[in-house]
Symmetry: none
Subunit: 408 residues, 2 copies
């Protein structure tokens, strides 16, 4: 089985956004054992869209479109493919009902533009959109399966995961032969990981191991191709068990688990709670922790004391600490952690203070920060230096704070 | 003049990375007045690469390749295009010298694999790589110009800016200028925007107007093609001035400005400060505001009172409000806004309370929330309903909170 992905949208050809949909579709198809041979991006132009559809249909078993299903007149994919395949468009009543309910909620009626999103090609299998309004669909013409998916990335992802992969499995096209597993590391860089596991990374053919770097973290992606998911999983287990113990220790989670999710899970397991006092991260740590469903049982809340006077007035950091050590100090981080723990009645208090940048503060460079951890057993703090942009400093400080929670 | 971009690399088709090179090339060509009609991604496979090259060569004036110029055996672009165009490969001495110098620095000699990077097609104009080793090039065959550029994004960007754009200008191909401007709206959906501006969107040819939806927001992208950047800008000004006043009112910013940035800017302009009390957003509003450089002068800080007891203990929301109205209420949002304003000594207090989901809370559905706004003039609140995933509810609540700050 081989596939091609056609992303539709002039904003892609103007360079305003990257084709992340092509990336996501490819990753999920690879996991399902389907090879993607080509990505194409075309603009909101019917002739060029049909030309791309016709070419891909000649070459591929599966042609996947993303985008161009929306309500506006430059959303052309549905109409263009209907004409290309000589099919009528028919209404899909459940999608229309969904659109009507959505509009009614907003006190509006359904316009003709909105209604377009409920049309499917005659003979198509519809995919109801669980994250938006435009109905997706699968249409078979000759030997080729055409899949029409919405362009907004969160809608596309949801439809791929909930509808497309199961649909391909049911047809026996996604024989579940390729399984991947990401082992997520914190506290080691990509090249150090590569050096430690060079033989595994370079010599393994099936399963394979490949390092993947993302901002401040590195993952090792293990991929096995087996006759069944079970067999592939067993191959991955075998490879994982060969990792040296010192590397295993740096793994904090697998696949989509984030540091924040791992931290929330650990708090749940130990029936603990946390309160957070933030300065340079400005709410980012609390935001990350509370983004995890179920965080409400373990996250008490916290204070964002962005200005020095807020640290004094709202977190009771003493005048003495501020004058003697400054706000960018271990003493300040520890006082913030202790006080937020007390104020919010939590098992742990975590506090961050430092310089996000881009300019230095109190003579301290951007990227320098302290994290304090307070518990019933006492208070400690650690100094960090993470150079980079303001965005990166804040992100790394947030990750380090979550990581501290894995160690308590 | 029209162009196509062919990115080469199996890692793109496996979904390991997104085609950001296609995005960058497109943006720079658009600025130079050259339309990009198609992006193609193919893997490290000579036949499929040549097929894509042949097709693009038939359609486009300029075919730009990124990737496949490196030293390894799966770097095929140079060889494949040489065969496709029936050209020999010849050494480019300055590139070879550069490679030799680089290897000497590392105490190594130049291998045959490394030497490949110094070969160019016979008759090509070379682009010495200023950020890496592989030589880029421009080859003209018939009416088509082929540009071969390296795949690593920092090398590609450097070569586009330093070599390709000047090369196209010298040929007189980068004349004319396309300028785009995004008008960012909040409080109107994509289809409503389309309906209000249908004539402008559907009938304008130059400049054009196109709606772009992203999570919870919609933008109108205006694009003009003029003889110069100045002329194109004037065309955009003209189109923008034709927007009806009721639509202009919904514009909160242009291009890369976010709601949070617009809110911080407004606070600066009015010399005001803000403190935020968050519940369902868990720190997201403070995080968004403090992500803007310079936020420290206007954001005092705030409290994240994720649990009910924190609202009572740390924000002094009264027992009476909690028992009579519940925490998901206008009264609670108003009390939180007033108290956080007082506690942090800010001009404005903003507070959010509601249900992020996925499950209902206190009998209230996911997506329902209140935003309270307190100032010296008094306190008000607004009830919102934003259905969707937990992630979307939190994002929309954050955006609405920033939007409230634009109205104070």
């Amino acid at each position: 089985m081989n596939a091609e992905v056609i992303a539709v949208g002039s904003e892609l050809l103007l360079g305003q956004i990257a084709n992340t949909n092509g990336q996501y579709v490819s990753r999920r198809l690879a996991e399902a054992g389907i090879s993607v041979y080509r990505h194409t991006v075309v603009g909101d132009n019917e002739n060029r869209l049909r030309e791309a559809a016709e070419e891909a249909g000649r070459r591929a078993d599966i042609v996947i479109f993303s985008g161009g299903l929306g309500p506006t007149s430059d959303d052309l994919t549905r109409d263009a493919l209907a004409r290309e395949l000589n099919r009528s468009l028919i209404i899909h009543p459940p999608s229309l009902e969904q659109i009507e309910a959505f509009m009614k909620d907003k006190g509006k009626t359904v316009s003709a533009a909105n209604e377009r999103q409920a049309y499917i090609l005659e003979g198509a299998d519809p995919f109801v959109n669980r994250a938006g309004l435009a109905c997706g669909m699968a249409v078979t013409e000759g030997d080729t399966l055409y899949l029409l998916l919405p362009g907004p990335p969160h809608e596309l992802k949801r439809m791929i995961d909930a509808d497309v992969i199961p649909y391909l499995s049911a047809k026996g096209w996604a024989a579940g032969s390729i399984v991947s597993r990401e082992l997520k590391f914190f506290g080691i860089g990509e090249s150090a990981l590569h050096d430690s596991l060079a033989v595994m990374i370079e010599e393994q053919k099936n399963p394979t191991a490949a390092p993947l770097a993302s901002e401040g973290e590195v993952a090792l992606r293990l991929t096995a191709r087996g006759d069944s998911v079970l067999q592939a999983e067993q191959m991955l287990d075998g490879l994982e068990s060969k990792l040296p113990p010192e590397m295993k220790k740096l793994i904090y989670g697998k696949n989509d688990v984030s540091l924040a999710a791992a931290a929330v899970e650990r708090l749940k397991q130990t029936a603990s709670t946390v309160a957070v006092a933030e300065s340079l991260t400005g709410g980012g740590v609390l935001e990350a922790l509370t983004s995890i469903p179920g965080a409400s049982s373990v996250v008490k809340g916290g204070a964002v004391t962005y200005q020095t006077e807020a640290k004094q007035n709202n977190l009771e950091v003493s005048e003495e600490i501020i004058h003697k050590h400054g706000v960018i100090s271990a003493a300040c981080a520890e006082a913030m952690a202790e006080n937020v723990r007390k104020m919010y009645g939590a098992s742990f208090g975590i506090a961050l203070t430092g310089v996000a940048g881009p300019t230095p503060q109190e003579g301290e460079p951007a990227g320098k920060f302290y994290i304090g951890v307070a518990s019933a057993d006492g208070t400690t703090s650690t100094q960090f230096m993470e150079p980079g942009s303001r965005e990166r400093v804040r992100l790394m400080a947030t990750k380090h704070a979550c990581h501290q929670l894995l160690k308590v």
